[in-house]
Symmetry: C2
Subunit: 154 residues, 2 copies
């Protein structure tokens, strides 16, 4: 037990989290290439397949991303013809993203992705469930600590 053991990479929780996330996204790439989406575009499309229409702010909240990331990404999705972007008439500050027919059609092709991914990520059902719950616990706990910081600084 050295003094600096807490700084060893194998004693960190953040590192396998960071590495696993990257490796999974990398693993998705060849599957997503086939439907002409990057990973971030894919999760944006997931929200849109479900919700059909929402503004940048709401999408950002779903994905933990801000307009700095989403604006160029949504322009690319628009160029590919998967979404349209127009200002809300009732409040012109809001940019409304709407999925197109072409975007909806893509869902059929995208259906193949999760099953293919599941095959190469061979966790059993219980592990998957436990991991899922713990990851959301982490996300919630970070959200919570953000609030505390914000309060302190006020």
């Amino acid at each position: 037990m050295g003094k600096y053991d807490c700084l060893k990479i194998e004693n960190q929780l953040c590192f396998p989290l960071y590495a696993a996330s990257k490796e999974i996204v990398r693993r998705y790439k060849p599957m997503l290439d086939r439907i002409d989406l990057t990973y971030t575009q894919y999760i944006a499309m997931m929200v849109l397949w479900d919700r059909k229409e929402l503004n940048v702010k709401e999408l950002g909240k779903c994905l933990y991303l801000d307009s700095g990331t989403l604006t160029p990404l949504l322009k690319k999705l628009e160029n590919k013809g998967f979404v349209t972007r127009h200002r809300s008439e009732s409040d012109e500050r809001n940019l409304i993203i709407t999925i197109t027919d072409k975007g909806m059609d893509l869902r059929e092709e995208a259906m193949k992705v999760p099953s293919e991914m599941g095959r190469c990520l061979c966790l059993n059902e219980e592990d998957t469930d436990v991991l899922y719950k713990l990851l959301y616990k982490v996300l919630d706990s970070i959200e919570e600590s953000k609030k505390t910081i914000k309060h302190k600084s006020n």
Copy 2:
């Protein structure tokens, strides 16, 4: 149970993994700013604090990163005076990264980071342990599936 439920973001394991990783790195930022490191530089320094000296290839294996990411990152660490870079005499293809005294000194300051981070990531010991093991299970399982793919394509 709709036909497309598997494409809902709340039914995906990859998404909370991706989001939690990003949020944790973001959470680290203010702490790492104080020691003038980015997150990726921080994990590279972690390996170097432990190993003192290794080449780019070995470092890349530790961090799941390639030379395209590491070359510019290591040049930045060199500019900051935390490492030196020189070619191996026995095999000039290898670039050896060596930590400097200044780099070693930084470890004392960095010691504050994991404890501060732990405070805002309030998982109990058991959860942390389970999460850690599951994340490495994911990493291993991806490594394994890579080999299979490689074999198939040969």
